[in-house]
């Protein structure tokens, strides 16, 4: 039965409301990043749109302008609340991109091979192995962070991009393998067999036939890995000192003399962008039904 006009309108209103609830914090975040300090903390109540927009917060976090310079430009006084820690976050964003992209590439590469093998090849105790892979994800990272710290220190991996990439791969791999396995399972074995009869080796049938058919799954897995790595906090905090990823860097904006909400929101808003661009690049592969037409459905 077609829903009536009234029920459709109601459905639309509910949908808009739900989206609004989810979007509001992001909007507020973005809004605060362009407010002058006085508008973020107004004694008379929240300021919504009644303020003079400024890019000062971005100039500090993204252009390396120091707080002293800003204060001088503003005609004396102090700008913001905190102490003297460095707010220039350009290197941080670069570090985060290196770690996230690096760990995503390695995770997806390893997971694709492992998932294909788990999906296609017979091996003794496969179910146990799959459960073992999954069980890695049950383990809370806090439980391994100290041993990992010592191991990384001894191997010279502490405070290196590669070390952090490796740590993120460790956490990402189990889920990536299982997720990709389910995508490979959806491609019927007949397709591999057809390729083999057509003259393909196992590698050729993987590379040229099966892999292109799970492109959507690879993209989805990449997005998940990237977002995890982009937002991961604890391992980054313990395993690095000079390299700072975004979540760790932002916590340094909470200082002993106050919280720099302006810089936090500016950097937070900026941090959304690379993730957004990455997902935008990947999302055209995120179409369902890539195997459509291969089989009789």
């Amino acid at each position: 039965m077609e829903p009536s006009h009234a029920s459709r309108t109601l459905r639309d209103i509910v949908a808009v409301l739900v989206v609004a609830i989810f979007m509001f914090p992001i909007l507020w975040w973005g809004l605060n990043s362009i407010k002058p300090y006085s508008a973020i903390f107004d004694k008379d109540g929240p300021v919504y749109l009644d303020f003079e927009p400024t890019l000062d917060n971005y100039r500090v976090t993204m252009m390396g302008v120091s707080r002293v310079e800003l204060a001088i430009q503003d005609g004396g006084g102090t700008y913001g609340a905190g102490g003297a820690s460095s707010y220039d976050s350009r290197q941080t964003i670069l570090d985060s991109i290196i770690v996230s992209v690096g760990s995503t590439i390695i995770s997806v590469f390893l997971a694709t091979l492992a998932a294909y093998a788990l999906s296609r090849m017979a091996m003794r105790g496969k179910q146990h192995f799959i459960f073992w892979v999954l069980s890695q994800r049950f383990m809370p990272p806090i439980a391994i962070v100290i041993p990992l710290l010592f191991m990384f220190r001894d191997m010279g991996l502490r405070d290196t991009h590669f070390g952090l990439i490796l740590a993120h791969v460790l956490i990402n791999l189990p889920l990536a393998v299982l997720l990709l396995k389910s995508f490979f399972d959806d491609v019927p074995k007949d397709v591999d067999e057809a390729a083999m009869i057509d003259g393909a080796t196992r590698w050729q049938s993987f590379r040229r036939v099966v892999l292109p058919m799970v492109r959507g799954g690879v993209a989805a897995t990449a997005v998940l890995c990237f977002i995890f790595s982009w937002t991961e906090f604890m391992l980054s905090l313990y395993l690095t000192t000079s390299i700072r990823t975004l979540p760790v860097k932002i916590t340094t904006f909470v200082t002993s003399t106050g919280t720099e909400w302006g810089f936090i929101t500016a950097l937070g808003t900026t941090a959304i962008l690379p993730a957004f661009v990455f997902i935008l690049l990947v999302q055209r592969h995120l179409v369902r039904g890539l195997t459509l037409g291969s089989l009789k459905e």
């Binding site: 007949d190 057809a194 083999m196 057509d198 036939v209 291969s294």
Partner: protein, 359 residues
């Protein structure tokens, strides 16, 4: 082109043996159909010929070369799968050209071959399309095109038509047969559909539970089934099977079905008096008439198909089917007389299920 020889091949999955020491000769250029109910091992046998399964015991030879350990790609075979197994991310052209591309065939030759296959299969206008943009029949033709461009020694078909609707199935049946007549490539075709087997095969191999029940030319099998299983499996509507005991009545042999019903036998029927038998008669050899005939039965359902009337009747409590091409009106629940063609009666031993040949 090549012959295929299967010598004493067995196949086990774990502890379960699904094919038991089977031997079969497939001569060069023949169209052989492996026919049987699901689970009879016919697909497994085909997959062993393809090299997708390995034989547990015995030898498989293609063109007189044992290929037990040869990789599928080196067996010079082509296979069409039940669900087509097309490469969804490639165009029709690329699907067909894939095998040649892997072998490093020059582009010009590749195009020539694909064009040739496409023209045979009426796919010329679709070469740029993706499988998802094609109908079921077209997809099946792409799968066949992928097979024929290779110019293989043996074609293997694994129930290629079972996913198509009835009308398309009949059409594709003819196309595959035509293709075979054109190319004359040795073909092994697996199906559970006896009509497909009858219409397409030069030679039918009927399998059950991993053994061959009977093999031969389609009409020879139809006219002379070796046992009850084959008799019941081939033919639609199926052969009527009536249980009884051989007796003599007034000096002529009959099969006593019930006290009232005596099924007539030819003089030379090979059965002994007192032997428990199954009396088999195909519907088209059992003539229904409203008034005259040997056996008295009661009409239950009448199905006019156009060319024929199928009369389902109850004979001594057993449902039988009789077919006539005459335009006679039969009424449900009315008496009907049935006359078997004595020359076409099949007798089977009730205990062993094996045919009793006429003496």
């Amino acid at each position: 082109m090549a012959s295929v020889t299967i010598s004493d091949v067995s196949k086990s999955f774990g502890t379960v043996e699904v094919i038991h020491g089977l031997s079969l000769d497939i001569p060069d250029g023949k169209f052989v159909v492996l026919l049987g109910p699901s689970g009879c091992g016919k697909s497994t046998l085909l997959r062993m010929i393809a090299g997708l399964e390995t034989a547990t015991k015995g030898d498989i030879a293609i063109a007189d070369t044992v290929v037990n350990t040869v990789h599928p790609k080196d067996r010079n075979i082509a296979m069409v799968f039940q669900n087509y197994a097309l490469y969804a991310h490639m165009t029709v052209f690329d699907n067909m050209a894939f095998s040649m591309d892997l072998r490093g065939t020059p582009k010009a030759e590749m195009k020539e071959k694909v064009d040739w296959a496409a023209s045979i299969l009426n796919l010329t206008d679709y070469l740029d399309r993706y499988p998802r943009q094609l109908s079921g029949g077209q997809r099946q033709r792409v799968a066949m095109g992928r097979a024929i461009v290779r110019d293989p020694a043996v074609f293997l078909f694994d129930e290629p038509l079972s996913n198509l609707d009835a009308k398309l199935r009949v059409q594709m049946r003819t196309e595959i047969k035509e293709l075979h007549q054109k190319l004359k490539t040795t073909t092994v075709y697996v199906t559970h559909d006896q009509i497909e087997a009858m219409t397409m095969a030069d030679h039918i191999v009927i399998m059950r539970d991993g053994v061959i029940e009977q093999e031969g030319r389609p009409l020879d099998i139809y006219d002379g089934p070796d046992n009850l299983f084959v008799a019941g499996f081939i033919g639609s509507p199926g052969m009527n099977m009536l249980n009884g005991t051989v007796e003599r009545m007034d000096g002529t042999p009959i099969v006593r079905m019930t006290d009232e019903i005596a099924l007539p036998l030819p003089e030379n029927a090979g059965a002994k008096d007192g032997q428990a038998v199954v009396y088999g008669i195909r519907p088209e050899h059992l003539e229904p008439r409203p008034d005259t005939g040997t056996l008295a039965a009661t009409t239950q359902v009448v199905e006019p198909t156009g060319p024929e009337n199928h009369v389902y009747a109850s004979l001594g409590g057993v449902e039988v089917c009789a077919i006539t091409r005459d335009r006679i009106e039969f009424k449900p629940e009315a008496p009907v007389r049935l006359t078997p063609d004595l020359e076409r009666v099949h007798l089977f031993d009730a205990d062993t299920g094996m045919v009793i040949r006429h003496g």
